[in-house]
């Protein structure tokens, strides 16, 4: 019996640490919609730059083929287009989450950082590739989680291979 005690103690400590870890980890925030004051955002998600940029890596091309095959993107690289409802004080990040696409992100000191949408992630098509967003055709310089949207805004999430792809022919 005496031998058991330290083991039990260790197990208790490990369980406590795990409990702290899990409760401390933030669960995904669900956008609770109130139908009366919800605002409507036109959202487009695309990865056209994989088709247009000549510096795209082979892996990026393979991934686009895969997305088209799995019906996550159309032939031209358009992954989502439609209107999305969000609560008034919510951000570009929430609008993206409400599209129903599989969004993976990391929390950082500057707000959430979206690193992959529908399985297409940063650095997948080249060392500088990744997701950026435009609101009404302009690229804000804060995290999407901190940029509050207003009714009627046009939100555009783009996968860019290089920085120059940002403003290329919006589909």
């Amino acid at each position: 019996m005496k031998k058991m005690e330290p083991i039990m103690k260790k197990i208790a400590v490990i369980a406590l640490i795990l409990l702290l870890f899990f409760t401390g980890a933030c669960a995904r925030e669900e956008a609770v919609l109130k139908p009366d004051d919800a605002i409507t955002i036109a959202v487009t998600v695309d990865c056209v730059s994989i088709l247009n940029n000549s510096n795209v890596s082979q892996k990026g091309r393979d991934l686009l083929d895969l997305l088209i095959e799995k019906d996550l993107s159309d032939q031209k690289g358009l992954m989502f287009r439609g209107d999305v409802n969000i609560a008034p004080a919510q951000s570009a990040f929430h609008a993206l989450q409400n599209t129903g696409l599989e969004v993976r992100y990391r929390e950082s000191a500057f707000g959430p950082f979206v690193h992959s949408i529908s399985g297409l992630g940063d650095k997948d098509a080249g060392p500088l590739s990744g997701w950026v967003y435009l609101v009404n055709g302009e690229a804000p310089d804060v995290s999407s989680g901190l940029f509050k949207l207003e009714d009627g805004d046009i939100l555009h999430w783009r996968f860019t291979v290089e920085e120059t792809d940002l403003f290329l022919d919006l589909p």
Binding site: A25, C26, D62, R104, S116
Partner: protein
């Protein structure tokens, strides 16, 4: 086994290509093949017990890499389980599994290489071109087992002197051991230097210790290594080595062209030592049969080498 009789340059080239291929790819088919063939070769070279001993370390390592990658990777799309930032996906787990298997395959191939080639033979290959570096490398490899052996001896002497039983590790004994080992290794360095000088290390005329000769027998493994290496490179060039783990595991469309070339090349490369063994065995059988047919007289039989004689009688 067979490769032990070949020129060390050929052995070095073969194992070099195998290791580069195994380390460079994460293609599941090739990694699994590499692991399989390295394990078969291991079982042919070493007793089952010893192979089991190294597997005893390798399997938990594979398991741990699988688990860690499964927990840390969040790129896979086929989710098994998700709790806040912790996601467990099929792709992450399988990528971890293949990484672990790849690492163990590299370790097993290194063990095979070590069993095929002693350090003397390694020195003999590079001794003329890079005398200092090859000497240093082989001395470093020698230093690790030497130090372990010496440490064991010191610990045994200490226990014999104090009459202490095998018990818990104590820090102060560890420090004593380290001090003695330090002194020993310095002394050993001086002794080695003296011995090298006594054997005329600094004189210009040096000849390698092991008697090594090039022969026609080395041509076959060399050509086979080159051939299968060319097949592998051709497959890579045609895009056959492509494989996507994330977001879904899949062979991309462009890989269909070179896939079989890539697979065939790597299989041939991994198969080479076993093939040489089989060839050797078949040739031996043939030779024995021919000898049996001519049925030599007893006097000639006495002159035959031992292994041939056994087949004829």
């Amino acid at each position: 086994m067979m490769m032990k009789k070949h020129h060390p340059g050929v052995v070095l080239f073969y194992y070099g290509s195998v290791l580069v291929l195994t380390m460079a790819t994460r293609h599941p088919a090739v990694t699994l093949l590499s692991f399989l063939f390295s394990l078969i070769l291991r079982f042919r070279m070493e007793e089952t017990r010893k192979v089991g001993h190294s597997l005893f370390y390798l399997l938990p390592m594979i398991l741990m890499i699988t688990l860690l990658n499964g927990l840390y990777s969040d790129r896979g799309m086929t989710l098994l389980f998700s709790w806040g930032p912790i996601t467990l996906s099929v792709e992450g787990i399988l990528y971890g599994l293949i990484s672990g298997i790849s690492l163990s395959a590299v370790i097993l191939w290194f063990q095979n290489y070590h069993d095929t080639m002693e350090s003397g033979r390694f020195l003999a290959v590079l001794g003329k071109r890079l005398p200092v570096i090859s000497m240093m490398v082989s001395m470093i490899f020698r230093a690790i087992p030497d130090t372990l052996e010496q440490g064991r001896e010191i610990e045994q002497s200490r226990r014999a002197l104090t009459g202490e039983r095998r018990g818990k590790f104590q820090m102060k004994h560890g420090v004593t051991l380290l001090t003695i080992l330090m002194g020993w290794s310095m002394e050993n360095a001086i002794e080695t230097a003296d011995a090298m000088k006594a054997k005329a290390y600094l004189s210009d005329k040096r000849i390698p210790y092991a008697g090594i000769r090039r022969s026609l027998r080395d041509l076959l493994p060399l050509l086979l290594t080159l051939g299968s290496g060319a097949l592998v490179l051709g497959g890579v060039f045609l895009g056959g080595a492509g494989f996507l783990y994330y977001p879904f595991m899949q062979i991309p469309q462009r890989a269909e062209r070179g896939f079989f070339l890539w697979l065939a090349g790597s299989t041939l490369l991994f198969l080479l030592p076993l093939f040489l063994d089989a060839l050797d065995w078949a040739l031996g059988q043939l030779r024995r049969q021919l000898l049996r047919e001519v049925s030599p007289d007893p006097f000639v039989l006495q002159l035959l080498p031992h292994d041939l004689k056994a087949g004829v009688e």
